[in-house]
């Protein structure tokens, strides 16, 4: 299963953190820091895989890839295939790029709820759910449409109700 997905920038600042097994906040920070350290020490033009069994236990690996200023990291165990994970990451990023046209780091920072929505369509509970970028785009688009529709109807009447409580 997939243990986690992390997006961080090239200075180690987390931009999206999702662990599929609960990790307390301090532990999360520690993991992010250690992963960042590992990634920094990697030379260019080497493989995209790193064994991280010292951080996550037996047989856990990560796949990482740099996209401009961002590191995308998938952490997973032996029930997944490294290359396939790399491609899944690719699909994920392509999808981000479709949803935010010309996605950049700030898109990920400000709209991380949307990024989470996209990620949820790909991976659920640590298992790969969907691998088709356009399918995900379709779903996400539908969600956004619904959300906006809900807003336009609800905005006016719901606010007083909320304040009244």
């Amino acid at each position: 299963m997939i243990r986690g997905v992390i997006v961080m920038n090239d200075r180690g600042k987390p931009r999206l953190v999702k662990f599929y097994e609960f990790q307390p906040a301090e532990k999360q920070q520690e993991l992010i820091r250690s992963i960042y350290r590992v990634l920094c020490s990697r030379a260019e033009n080497v493989s995209n895989f790193v064994k991280v069994d010292s951080l996550f236990g037996q047989d856990v690996r990560l796949v990482y890839k740099t996209f401009a200023t961002l590191y995308f990291v998938f952490i997973f165990d032996s029930s997944e295939n490294e290359l396939a994970m790399l491609d899944l990451m690719q699909v994920f990023v392509e999808t981000l790029d479709k949803v935010f046209s010309n996605v950049c780091e700030l898109d990920v920072v400000f709209n991380f709820n949307k990024v989470h929505t996209i990620l949820e369509e790909f991976i659920l509970g640590g298992q790969v759910l969907e691998t088709n970028s356009s399918e995900v785009v379709k779903t996400v688009e539908e969600i956004l449409k619904m959300e906006r529709a809900a807003n336009s109807i609800k905005v006016v009447p719901s606010i007083p109700g909320w304040q009244g409580r």
């Binding site: 999206l16 609960f22 200023t69 088709n132 959300e147």
Partner: protein, 980 residues
């Protein structure tokens, strides 16, 4: 039954262009409607900006703490609109992602999940799934909402609830939502069915018992007419099959059929990815099949055809195609072997290894590790590739290669492999991996050591560099080996071994920063055997020991070992009738220890003092030479005390009552509470444990007087104790007896059954040979490099295969079956040349001629290249040099191969890297001078459907600059080149 299911499905057409167009409008709308341009408020923007500009962690923390204060104040104010609240929640998530506590806002997230609006509900769910773990107290407030949402008409609400279910429901709350989730397995929307399957799977992971009656649902969903749901079902089935293979053997036919349909492109086009039919489903199915076919001939036979098909059809130019290929290899290696499939697996592996991509090499090495278990001979043809990987700067690849070497170690190549491992171990800092490598070295050395000498040397190295990381058992093993020697009646060899050990330790002991465990071994060996061969004087050894004890004054264990070693040496001296004069530093050491805080050290020091004053005969009894090998008989009944007990009883002492009988009696109140406590199990509190320890000394009056039995510090005790030989031994020789005891159960693994007896005789010729080889090699490589300069782009050269490397290869891969290889020498030779490519045959010829020339004088059977594997070859000093030369050669040649990769035999596997490279920023990826043709194609294909929106692009750019989040990146637009 599954066979025909997907036939009736139409193509799920999805107009990408349309979707993108729509998305763009959405994006624009969002951009316009929001103040910041990213759909967030100015405040959030400022927060991110200031954090981005923070110069230190402390400054960042200050900013975040201020933000937390703001949020706290805002959240507690009564007049707060829902949409403000949503934004605050997002900021909370952000703050928590940066590692700060946002627990004060959790309740707001929980409240938000109750909201009717999808946007707010989803935000609420997102927040709770990120904030809470499944055992959090607030979960109970959400369960109700989840229940309601699972029943919603809006499938997006249901999906949101299912997402939350996967993350938040624990064993206790499963029953609350289980019926609804099961119901959703039949939902009309496939997205919901998929998620319901996943949720059920999650329940199974959390608490297998809670859903054990529902497992049949997974089988049912396998026949779902949506391929996506079927694919989702493979995840839980994979887990289930991993746990219990036998219950799912009946599904082999179904899985094979599904795989067949997938491979034959019967699935809708939307499942295609990079022209591969549903590769992710294929991978999952292959994983499942490899489990089901493992060790099961009948099931395996059903898979052969489809596996062959897949491996034939797979597109090895794309990343995902290789992923499927790799998975097929894993499957082929796991199921009952089929020669034809193994052959194509071997072919694929060699393609992987020959590729330029590190990722492929990594997979190739991994797959090779699987394949050599079935057909060990395959390793040979990839030896050079493996060695290349071993030298590779990529750490991941290196480790993978070491994993492979570890798997293929045997007695013929153990020396080379362990040497390499140790070198690598020394070079790395990662504790975790260092420990792993060290323990592997030890394991391999114990299993395959060709000689004890080598074993000791290897252990020394391991201890020296990773002594604190290896198990102490290893140290005891080493001591035992030195003490017991070969386990044969060959005393001279044993004493040689010991002298060499002593010699090496005397050399090492002076070094600073030795690990404690290693020092213990050293002290023990020096104490036992330091003076045994008469080469070193007692004062020399004791001086060294004292230095060691002084240098490690904080380490009590080392000091204890050192003192005991001193004691042994002195007593051997006394026993031999020589006069002992203690060195002043020893004197001061002993005096220091006499006043030590550690009673153990004190006792040892007192013992030492006591023994020195004794005469030779007594000392000989206490400290017999080489006593550590004697089996210590333990008299559990303490029969030697019988007389004493009898005497005491006659004097009126109470008889000893064994503990079990004693607990039956309830004479004293003290005992009463004691046995009361032990007999009733219902209420047991830890605090009651205490009295127990005070009981034993109280009970037998006999024992209380027996303190006299250990009068270690009394100078006259030898005369008192009735049987000094045994008891004194156990007491004073405590250092060694302790070790002795811990050693039991350790299997003796080293030895010579697999050790080739020809080695010693050839060693002389080999050293000669290696000299010859290296000088030759130097000349070869120099000429090569000249040639290289001239005609380096004219053809695909591989001059890097030097004789040195070949030797390494030979020592790693050769010698599996030395004897039969010798007979088939000539045939082997030919195949070797072929496999390495004809263009370097001249080199091989040269190398081999040097070999034969070197060997002829000794009239050995003609060794092939593979027989060069001698430790002297790789460890000898001159061999280092050619490697360095080699490295200089390597780089340009790799460039050549890269440039000319379009030409030759290697099918375009390496293109994947460049394919990906075009995703990354063009400014950074200067290396990709000419992207491969298919990359360009995708480029072009994409452009018309989605042209770059210049306006938006610039806005973003400007904003990014202004905000300054990424001061290091010149171009903040991540995926510019994706769009052309």
């Amino acid at each position: 039954m599954v066979y025909g299911i997907y036939l009736g499905l139409g193509l799920m057409c999805f107009d990408v262009g349309f979707a993108l167009e729509q998305l763009k409008t959405i994006g624009r709308e969002l951009a316009m409607s929001s103040q910041g341009g990213f759909g967030q408020s100015k405040e959030f923007l400022d927060l991110i900006k200031s954090i981005g500009e923070a110069r230190s962690k402390a400054e960042e923390d200050r900013i975040v703490l201020r933000e937390i204060d703001t949020l706290k104040a805002r959240l507690s104010s009564p007049n707060i609109t829902k949409f403000k609240l949503k934004e605050y929640l997002m900021r909370l998530i952000y703050v928590e992602m940066l590692g700060h506590d946002a627990s004060f806002g959790y309740i707001h997230a929980v409240k938000m999940t109750h909201d009717e609006s999808l946007l707010l509900k989803r935000t609420g769910y997102l927040a709770v799934t990120l904030f809470l773990n499944e055992d959090h107290d607030l979960i109970i407030l959400i369960v109700n909402t989840i229940q309601k949402d699972l029943r919603s008409d809006n499938y997006l609400v249901v999906c949101a609830a299912l997402n939350a279910v996967c993350r938040l429901i624990n064993e206790e709350t499963i029953p609350a939502v289980l019926p609804q989730v099961v119901e959703l397995l039949g939902h009309q929307k496939e997205a919901v069915r998929k998620k319901a399957v996943m949720a059920l799977h999650r329940f199974y992971q959390r608490a297998p018992g809670s859903v054990s009656h529902l497992i049949s649902n997974f089988r049912k969903r396998l026949c779902d007419n949506d391929p996506g749901v079927m694919a989702a079902t493979l995840c839980p089935l994979f887990d289930l099959i991993t746990i219990d293979v036998n219950s799912y053997k009946d599904l082999v036919v179904s899985f094979v059929n599904i795989l067949k349909q997938v491979a034959e492109r019967r699935l809708p086009k939307s499942y295609d990815y990079h022209q591969m039919p549903a590769p992710f489903i294929q991978i999952k199915l292959l994983k499942i099949l490899s489990l089901l076919g493992n060790g099961d001939k009948k099931s395996s036979e059903q898979m052969y055809t489809i596996l062959g098909d897949i491996m034939r059809k797979c597109d090895s130019a794309s990343n995902i195609g290789n992923a499927v290929l790799y998975e097929s290899i894993c499957c082929v290696c796991s199921i009952h072997p089929n020669p034809k499939l193994l052959e194509s697996a071997a072919d694929t592996i060699s393609k992987f290894l020959k590729g330029d991509s590190h990722n492929l090499k990594y997979l190739g090495i991994d797959a090779l590790g699987l394949l050599i278990r079935i057909s060990p001979e395959i390793a040979e043809q990839h030896q050079l590739a493996v060695i290349d990987c071993l030298e590779d700067p990529d750490d991941t690849l290196k480790r993978k290669t070491f994993d492979l070497l570890y798997k293929m170690t045997k007695s013929s190549n153990v020396e080379v492999i362990v040497d390499r491992m140790i070198d690598y171990m020394i070079s790395i800092n990662d504790h975790h991996y260092k420990t792993e490598i060290a323990s592997r070295c030890v394991e391999l050395a114990e299993q395959f050591a060709p000689s004890n000498q080598w074993f000791i040397q290897t252990m020394n190295k391991v201890f020296e560099h990773a002594g604190d990381l290896v198990n102490t058992k290893v140290a005891h093993n080493l001591m035992r080996l030195i003490a017991e020697g070969f386990g044969e009646d060959d005393n001279t060899a044993d004493s040689q071994l010991r002298s060499s050990a002593v010699e090496s330790y005397l050399r090492i002991i002076g070094e600073p920063k030795l690990p404690s465990t290693f020092l213990q071994v050293i002290c023990w060996v020096l104490g036992e055997y330091g003076t045994a061969d008469g080469k070193y004087s007692a004062s020399y050894i004791t001086g060294k020991l004292c230095d060691a004890a002084e240098a490690h004054s904080t380490d009590d264990t080392v000091k204890a070992y050192a003192v005991t070693a001193l004691m042994k040496i002195y007593s051997f001296e006394i026993a031999a009738g020589r006069k002992v004069d203690m060195l002043p530093e020893c004197q001061s050491l002993v005096e220091e220890l006499l006043a030590s805080h550690s009673t153990d050290l004190q006792q040892r020091a007192y013992e030492l003092q006591a023994i020195i004053c004794l005469d030779a005969r007594a000392v000989e009894n206490i400290m017999p030479m080489d006593a550590n090998c004697e089996d210590i008989e333990i008299d559990k009944n303490l029969s030697f005390l019988d007389a004493y007990v009898q005497e005491s009883l006659e004097k009126g002492a109470q008889p000893y009552i064994p503990e079990d009988e004693r607990s039956g009696l309830s004479t004293s109140s003290n005992f009463r509470s004691q046995d009361h406590e032990s007999s009733t199990h219902a209420l047991r509190f830890e605090a009651y444990e205490l009295p127990k320890s005070s009981v034993p000394p109280k009970v037998p009056s006999v024992l209380s007087s027996s303190v006299e039995l250990v009068p270690v510090h009394e100078p006259s005790y030898v005369a008192d104790v009735p049987q000094p030989a045994t008891s004194a031994l156990t007491v004073s020789n405590s250092g060694s007896s302790e070790l002795k005891l811990r050693l039991d159960g350790v299997q003796k693994k080293w030895g010579r059954p697999t050790f080739s007896s020809t080695t010693p005789s050839t060693s002389s010729s080999d050293t000669f040979e290696s000299n010859n080889g290296t000088t030759r090699h130097e000349s070869i490589s120099s000429t090569k490099s000249k040639v290289h300069d001239v005609s380096y782009d004219s053809r695909k050269q591989q001059p890097e295969i030097s004789s040195e490397k070949q030797k390494l290869a030979a020592s790693l891969f050769g010698g599996a079956s030395k004897s039969d290889r010798k007979q088939s020498y000539s045939g082997q030779k030919v195949s070797k040349t072929n496999s390495h490519g004809a263009d370097k045959s001249d080199l091989i010829k040269a190398a081999s001629s040097s070999d034969t020339a070197a060997v002829i004088p000794t009239s050995q059977p003609p060794p092939d290249l593979l027989d060069l594997g001698e430790p002297t070859v790789t460890s000898s000093a001159p061999s280092v040099d050619p490697f360095k030369q080699l490295e200089g050669l390597l780089d340009p040649t790799q460039d050549t191969t890269k440039l000319s990769s379009s030409g030759v035999s290697v099918p375009n596997a390496p293109d994947i890297m460049s394919l990906y490279a075009d995703m990354s920023l063009s400014g950074q990826s200067t290396t990709v001078a000419n992207p491969p043709p298919n990359a360009i194609e995708t480029h072009l294909a994409k452009q018309p459907s989605k042209g770059p929106n210049v306006q938006e692009f610039l806005e973003k750019d400007a904003l990014v600059r202004q905000v300054g989040v990424t001061p290091s990146g010149q171009n903040p637009n991540l995926f510019k080149d994706l769009l052309g």
